[in-house]
């Protein structure tokens, strides 16, 4: 193609009417196709197992397209924070940027350096992506639904892919597996930057698993169940989200989720200034994209988990509650859930572009000497409340949280070495060159 042709295409694609028109047309087409094919999949919707599989397929597609969009929004937010435009050349407002990125990843040469451990080099990105996708299985997207054609006394269907009776213990298990993608990438690359990145990632991820586990234990004490759908239903039934009961537990889980996803300010494994690309230094093209997708998918899982645990899942005051299981209520609930998740992702991104990165010793100090003691103290306080039968009493919980916060602030003010200690305040270390 000649230059003028490309230019003309670019100009056309940058018109909002073209982009939104095409988007609306695609949406209409998909809706029409789904409506036409309705008799084909109607029987599938009525049994829990096949319905779960449909939810799985729909959610996989939704989430993968959401990750692509996330990358655009991340860059837009970066642009906003740094007072520049961000991507705006491909399509109106850069909306086609994800498509361009995807095509580019697909068309780039996939370089496998000579010195790598090839099987592990191939396995690592797949593992990273799969481990973060697995978590979606237990997110209760939209409560329950009973289709109009089902008998009114039939049990409503759950919009969860798998309602495990171990609940979010499963998420903890899957989350602990995401270490391997990164460690293997670092190991297989046979590159010093990658190796250090992988090691850092592993130490960081295991360290922040403890505060995560402690924060989740607090929620478990409050709700008495591990199943996310029941936790959401509880919050919807009482109208009191768990965040109002346990803001500190929410903070613990939020910080740990950021660290587990290797997001700034915990992005030391891929700190560009020190480690080039960190564990994905040697990766290119689609395999690199898979690490990218994995990170964003992990972020969405964490957000969805936090929303379910602390922000009432699909519940919002004044909107259909758990007893309303009609299909339109399901759509509203899904919309509410996805909105909350989107807000969280926006928060994650804002955090990334506002906070500077931790140093590695600070990172470890935050996990082991701040978050773990806070978690242990909070767990003890919640156990005491539970013993008194006050675990769902807002005022009692808030009082306990405030008391803990006061103690923490006081001890932080008295601490001689805060987390942000400057280098000259730390004990002198003997820096020897790494060979």
């Amino acid at each position: 193609m000649t230059d003028p042709t490309i230019k003309r295409i670019e100009t056309v694609l940058r018109k909002p009417a073209v982009i939104f028109g095409a988007g609306a047309a695609i949406l209409l087409l998909v809706t029409a196709l789904l409506a036409l094919a309705f008799p084909l999949y109607k029987p599938l919707l009525s049994s829990q197992f096949s319905f779960s599989m449909i939810v799985l397929a729909v959610m996989l597609v939704l989430i993968l397209s959401a990750t692509a969009l996330c990358i655009l929004f991340e860059r837009k937010i970066a642009g906003f924070t740094q007072d520049r435009y961000g991507p705006n050349r491909v399509g109106f407002w850069g909306l086609l940027q994800p498509v361009a990125d995807g095509l580019k990843f697909l068309l780039k040469e996939d370089i496998i350096p000579r010195h790598v451990d090839k099987p592990l080099f191939l396995l690592a990105p797949a593992l990273a992506l799969a481990a973060s996708l697995l978590g979606f299985a237990i997110i209760p997207w939209a409560g329950q639904v009973r289709w109009p054609w089902m008998p009114p006394d039939a049990p409503p269907l759950s919009t969860q892919v798998a309602n495990l009776n171990v609940g979010f213990l499963y998420l903890l298990a899957v989350g602990s597996l995401s270490v391997y993608g990164v460690v293997l990438a670092g190991y297989a690359s046979n590159n010093k930057y990658a190796f250090y990145g992988g090691m850092r990632a592993a130490a960081q991820m295991i360290s922040y698993e403890l505060p995560l586990g402690l924060g989740l234990l607090v929620v478990l004490l409050v709700s008495g169940t591990l199943q996310l759908d029941q936790i959401v239903q509880q919050q919807a039934a009482t109208g009191v989200w768990n965040i109002f009961l346990h803001p500190i537990a929410f903070f613990l889980v939020l910080v740990s989720a950021l660290a587990e996803a290797n997001r700034a300010p915990f992005d030391l494994p891929e700190a560009e200034q020190e480690l080039v690309g960190g564990y994905h230094t040697e990766y290119s093209a689609m395999k690199f994209a898979m690490f990218f997708l994995g990170e964003y998918a992990h972020m969405i899982t964490s957000s969805a988990l936090i929303v379910a645990l602390f922000f009432g899942g699909w519940h919002f005051w004044g909107l259909p509650g758990p007893e309303n299981v009609t299909w339109w209520a399901m759509l509203i609930k899904l919309a509410v859930y996805l909105t909350k998740v989107a807000l969280f992702i926006a928060l994650f991104m804002l955090v990334r572009w506002t906070l500077p990165r931790f140093r590695f010793d600070q990172l470890m100090r935050v996990a082991w000497q701040s978050l773990v003691p806070i978690g242990v103290a909070l767990l003890a306080a919640t156990a005491a409340l539970t013993y008194l039968g006050w675990q769902r009493n807002v005022w009692a919980s808030l009082a306990a949280n405030l008391l803990l916060l006061a103690v923490l602030l006081r001890s932080a003010a008295r601490s001689k070495r805060p987390v942000t200690a400057r280098q000259e305040d730390l004990p002198e270390i003997d820096v020897r060159p790494t060979t």
Partner: protein
């Protein structure tokens, strides 16, 4: 029945001995063929014998993967791959536990083994990284005694779970104590009533392990030269 089983186990032991790292490549290949034959016969036998394993396809699949992964753990020459096969083994066993509806146990297995113990293994492996593979990775040290010990252990196990008897002669299985014996609720209550002492002992044991781990990991480099020398 017993003779057949013992023959299979012997075959397995011989195959494993041949497949151990250190031998010639073609000997090891022969070992794998022998192992595959033994595994196939054993699997057929187990599927016929084991009652109550209703989803037999899944049971057989997970069991096969578990045995294969376990074999690779000890026959693979590269320690990192051994650790990865160990993780595969954990997953297979997790699948078997889920088949038994022991859901809490299965998740705890993944969290503790795959999420913590194996990460530590991988750290150790990378810490001990050398430019050349270590001699004990290239060649197994006591293949004869190792295979023999494993063989005897398997015989004992098979005896203990009465695999040598036809199903009619076996002690009937006790009825499940609860409706869903493997859920976290069903595990939690006896843990706090019947096995309280055990839990406390575990707590103390973990404390001892912590102190022990620290004691082992701490080596005091007295001078800088020495600290560089002893790496």
């Amino acid at each position: 029945m017993p003779t057949l089983l013992i023959a299979i186990l012997t075959l397995g032991a011989v195959g494993l001995f041949l497949a151990m790292p250190g031998g010639r490549a073609d000997t090891r290949r022969v070992g794998w063929v022998v192992l595959a034959a033994a595994g196939a016969v054993l699997l057929a036998l187990l599927l016929r014998l084991v009652p109550g394993a209703d989803p037999r396809g899944l049971f057989a699949g997970f069991a096969l993967v578990a045995v294969f992964a376990a074999l690779r753990v000890i026959t693979h020459g590269k320690p990192v791959y051994s650790a990865l096969y160990f993780i595969l083994l954990i997953f297979a066993v997790t699948g078997l536990l889920v088949l038994l509806e022991a859901t809490f146990l299965s998740m705890a297995l993944v969290i503790i083994y795959a999420g913590a113990i194996l990460v530590t293994y991988v750290f150790v492996i990378m810490l001990a990284q050398q430019s050349r593979p270590a001699p004990y990775d290239v060649k197994s040290r006591e293949p004869v005694w190792g295979c023999l010990a494993g063989f005897l252990l398997l015989i004992l196990l098979a005896r203990q779970i009465e695999l040598f008897l036809v199903p009619a002669q076996r002690t009937p299985l006790p009825a499940p104590i609860a409706e869903a014996p493997g859920t976290i609720e069903a595990v939690g209550v006896p843990l706090l009533t019947e096995y309280v002492v055990a839990i406390q002992i575990i707590g103390l044991l973990l404390l001892a392990a912590l102190v022990g781990a620290i004691a082992i990991a701490r080596r005091r480099p007295t001078t800088r030269a020495e600290s560089e020398g002893d790496e």
